[in-house]
């Protein structure tokens, strides 16, 4: 398209130049004027087609809302206006100028002068003709009186006298009778035409201007010569005289100027048309070329922008793969290049962000996973102390009390004013001991608070148990050793001194010694108990029929003061336990119950209407076997409930307080649990949960 426009433009320029030249003076091109005119018209038409095609294409693209067309159209309009407006102005001015100029050529004065010049020439010629005529008549007068031979002889003289160039005497039929010429070289005279003779005869004279092209202007006069005497033949005299060369030249010049002037004057309309047509063609071609070039140029400018815009739209949609093509090395090219590099950077940045996000998500998932599988409870509060995150461990530890627990945590934060703290507290429902640590989260991560807490009930109990085992072991070791020497010394004292003393004194010694020995024995028993507690062997776990064991143990209590009821679950599967130790447990529990009932019996006012009774029960609870020993005695004092399993915690007047501690220790060793409760009516119940033997 560009090449086409270029070629067409060059051709238009050439043809236009030729047309302009033809409109000027050159005669060569003037002959081909119509051809050139046609050529220009064809070219203009061609351009019109070309331009309308371009415009049509553009309009179609505009209608189809092809991106960039709007810009292109605007550029085109600007370019075209830039070319068209000055063109039209120059055209208008030129047309106006030419019209005025052509009109200004035709001045009335010049017209009158030229007319006057011609008229002057005509008058001079007329005057000369009249002169010549009068000379001719004078000559004819003179010749008329002469005879023929005389006339012939006189002619040359008369001619010289009159000062004419040539004189010829002819007969009526045109035959020359005599001739006289200034120019002797021309032998043959210029004879008058028969028609001229006829006119001369009819009008008694004839005058004509000979204006043969290429020859000097000359006058010719023919007059009849009266016949000499009667019956004489009629004759004619012709005089010829050249117009003076100076005058002839001037007159011809005026004539030529007049002719040219008249020609121009006649053709002024046409002349104007020619110039206007040429100018119009120039304008048309220039306009078309301008518009065609504008279209091409605007496309040249708009295309890269459109490409850029398309690429930008692609980027907006998130497609970074589109790279705009760099077509030029100007600012537009630089822009395109920068856009491309920007796109690449964007893509790079997006990839980095993507990677980071994936990493973050991974980390989050990992964190959540860790939180979920953490046995410790974790609570996260936001900056308004609203509960934001709880993990599985928190629900497991706090259970239904979680909300209440969270509230207590909030209070802790309020107390500590946003500083880190740690505390131990007990859950209200389950009585679990919980160790909680709170810390504010840094502001940079949005603030808030985090609490991590753990169920330390077991830990505390284990610590206590370990401490007591140590105490028991020491006591056994430190106290037992001196007991035997004490006992032996007392017995030796009795033996040595008994025979040396009086009977009363011997009796006193004997009683005292017996007391020492008994008390040492009691002390020994107690120390043994402690030793047993401290050195409880590892249970040898095996399948054990709990019901059979209970039966076996209760056999020993058949004759006790308080009846013992048995409610055994016959379908109880075997438990996984050490028989000897569980036997100890049952003994301890039943003795405890008996002791409790004994205490009640010892009270001054026994509870009315309630016969003391003990019930031993076994049953299946979930995947555990339950052994419960209940009584209707005094129950446990509330203040002791939390520490009831510790050694030396007892309600009995006698006893080491090791019974329940022992139970607890054994059950713990069995991976079981012990729970005590005061029954709502009266008395207490102790339940032991033991794991079942695994199905082999």
């Amino acid at each position: 398209m560009k090449v086409l426009v270029l070629i067409a433009g060059v051709v238009a320029a050439v043809v236009l130049f030729l047309l302009a030249t033809a409109s000027g003076e050159t005669t060569l091109l003037a002959q081909h004027y119509p051809l050139l005119l046609g050529l220009n018209a064809t070219l203009a038409l061609l351009f019109a087609v070309l331009v309308s095609y371009q415009l049509a294409v553009m309009v179609r693209r505009y209608r189809a809302r092809v991106f960039g067309t709007r810009l292109m159209l605007r550029l085109l309009t600007r370019f075209a206006a830039l070319a068209v407006l000055p063109g039209i102005i120059v055209y208008a001015v030129s047309v106006q100028f030419i019209t005025r100029s052509i009109e200004s050529w035709f001045d009335v004065k010049v017209d009158a002068a030229l007319e006057g010049g011609i008229s002057l020439g005509q008058q001079v010629i007329d005057q000369m003709t009249v002169d010549l005529q009068s000379k001719a008549r004078a000559m004819a007068q003179e010749l008329a009186d002469r005879s023929q031979p005389q006339a012939v002889a006189q002619l040359e003289r008369l001619r010289a006298q009159a000062g004419v160039q040539e004189a010829v005497l002819v007969t009526a039929s045109g035959r020359p009778l005599a001739t006289a010429s200034e120019d002797t070289s021309t032998l043959v005279p210029d004879l008058p035409a028969p028609q001229a003779l006829r006119q001369a005869r009819a009008n008694r004279g004839f005058a004509v201007v000979d204006s043969t092209a290429g020859r000097p202007l000359s006058l010719r006069v023919i007059v009849p010569v009266a016949a000499s005497g009667f019956g004489g033949e009629e004759r004619f005299l012709q005089l010829r005289s050249s117009v003076p060369p100076n005058f002839a030249g001037s007159a011809e010049a005026v004539e030529a100027a007049y002719r040219d002037y008249r020609e121009l004057s006649l053709a002024r309309e046409e002349l104007r048309s020619i110039y206007i047509v040429t100018l119009s063609f120039a304008l048309l071609l220039a306009l078309f070329v301008a518009v065609a070039v504008a279209v091409t140029q605007s496309r040249l400018l708009a295309d890269p922008i459109a490409t850029l815009a398309q690429a930008m739209q692609a980027v907006t949609r998130g497609d970074f793969s589109r790279q705009a093509e760099v077509t030029s090395r100007d600012e537009l090219g630089v822009l395109t290049e920068s856009f491309n590099s920007m796109t690449r950077q964007l893509e790079e940045a997006r990839r980095v962000v993507e990677t980071n996000r994936a990493a973050l998500e991974g980390a989050n998932a990992r964190l959540e996973n860790i939180l979920a599988h953490l046995s410790a409870g974790v609570l996260v509060f936001d900056h308004d102390r609203r509960l934001a995150i709880t993990n599985h461990g928190a629900s497991a530890i706090a259970g239904e009390e979680l909300e209440d627990f969270a509230q207590r945590m909030r209070e802790q934060f309020e107390q500590h004013g946003g500083k880190a703290w740690q505390t131990e507290l007990q859950l209200r429902t389950t009585g679990k001991t919980v160790h909680a640590r709170g810390a504010p989260l840094p502001h940079a991560t949005g603030g808030g608070y985090v609490v991590a807490f753990d169920d330390v009930t077991q830990l505390i109990q284990a610590q206590r148990a370990t401490a007591w085992a140590e105490v028991a072991r020491r006591m056994a070791h430190e106290i037992r050793n001196p007991l035997t020497p004490i006992q032996l010394s007392a017995e030796r004292l009795e033996m040595k001194l008994a025979e040396h003393l009086s009977r009363e004194d011997a009796e006193t010694l004997h009683r005292s010694t017996a007391t020492i020995v008994n008390q040492v024995a009691a002390l020994k028993a107690m120390v043994d108990d402690f030793a047993n507690y401290a050195r409880l062997p590892r249970p040898e776990l095996m399948q054990l029929d709990l019901n059979a064991l209970v039966d076996d143990v209760l056999e020993l209590y058949q004759h006790s003061r308080v009846p013992i009821a048995k409610r055994l679950d016959a379908a109880l599967p075997p438990v996984w336990a050490d028989g000897a130790q569980i036997r100890q447990v049952i003994h301890n529990l039943v003795q405890n119950a008996q002791d409790s009932l004994d205490n009640v019996a010892a009270e001054p006012r026994p509870a009315a209407g309630a016969a003391p009774s003990i019930e031993v029960r076994t049953e299946l609870v979930g995947d555990r076997a339950r052994l419960a020993v209940s009584d209707n005695g005094g129950g446990f004092p509330e203040e002791l409930m939390a520490r009831i399993f510790e050694p030396y915690v007892t309600t009995k007047p006698r006893g080491t307080g090791l019974g329940l501690a022992m139970v607890k220790k054994i059950v713990d060793e069995h991976q079981g649990s012990v729970a005590i409760e005061n029954r709502p009516s009266r008395g207490a119940s102790v339940s032991v949960l033991l794991p079942l033997a695994k199905a082999a």
Binding site: Y33, Q122, I125, A251, V277
Partner: protein, 189 residues
């Protein structure tokens, strides 16, 4: 669109017909032998348009062109061109001597009035069109003759209006007839 085209076509047709009606009528044409060749006598009938008369009266020369074609038809090939002649006649007005001039080549005649000059122009006499009649074959020949105003020789400004205006157009149609050169009468001397 189609209606417009039809209208334009009709208009062009009418204008062409009108131009023909205003043009030159070729009257009697005679071809006769003279010496060795053939000469042509022809009568034309036309009047100058007012515009042309104005042009002439203002001293601008106008040119008439008489064209003669003689061809021998051949059924097997293009027609043979036997003879072809052009005659250029110049009509002008000489303001100084107030005379109309009619010239053809070196030959020049002057007339006091335009009508006299035109009368001579209308009557073409003894125009030698074929130098050697003997060279012509003894067969029917086609003869074509026309006369027209040579607008290409008008001054340039008039050429433009000659393209568009009918006022500067004067043209006859081709007058065609068949002739046997050998059978033509020979003028006695």
């Amino acid at each position: 669109m189609r209606r417009l085209a039809v209208l334009t076509g009709l208009l062009i047709l009418f204008s062409v017909c009108a131009a023909r009606a205003d043009g030159i009528e070729v009257g009697e044409v005679r071809l006769r032998g003279a010496d060795d060749g053939l000469v042509l006598d022809a009568d034309f009938a036309f009047e100058l348009t007012p515009r042309l008369a104005d042009v002439v009266a203002n001293g601008v020369p106008i040119y008439f062109r008489v064209e003669f074609e003689m061809t021998r038809p051949r059924w097997y090939w293009f027609d043979e061109k036997a003879a072809s002649k052009r005659l250029q006649l110049r009509l002008s007005y000489h303001a100084l001597s107030r005379q109309y001039r009619l010239s053809s080549g070196l030959l020049q005649q002057t007339f006091a009035t335009l009508e006299e000059a035109l009368n001579v122009l209308r009557r073409l006499r003894s125009w030698p069109v074929v130098e050697r009649a003997a060279a012509l074959s003894d067969a029917d020949h086609k003869v074509a003759l026309r006369m027209r105003l040579d607008t290409a020789l008008l001054p340039r400004p008039f050429q433009l209006s000659a393209l568009t205006s009918r006022e500067l157009h004067l043209e006859s149609e081709w007058k065609r007839f068949n002739v046997r050169p050998k059978a033509l009468p020979v003028a006695e001397r």
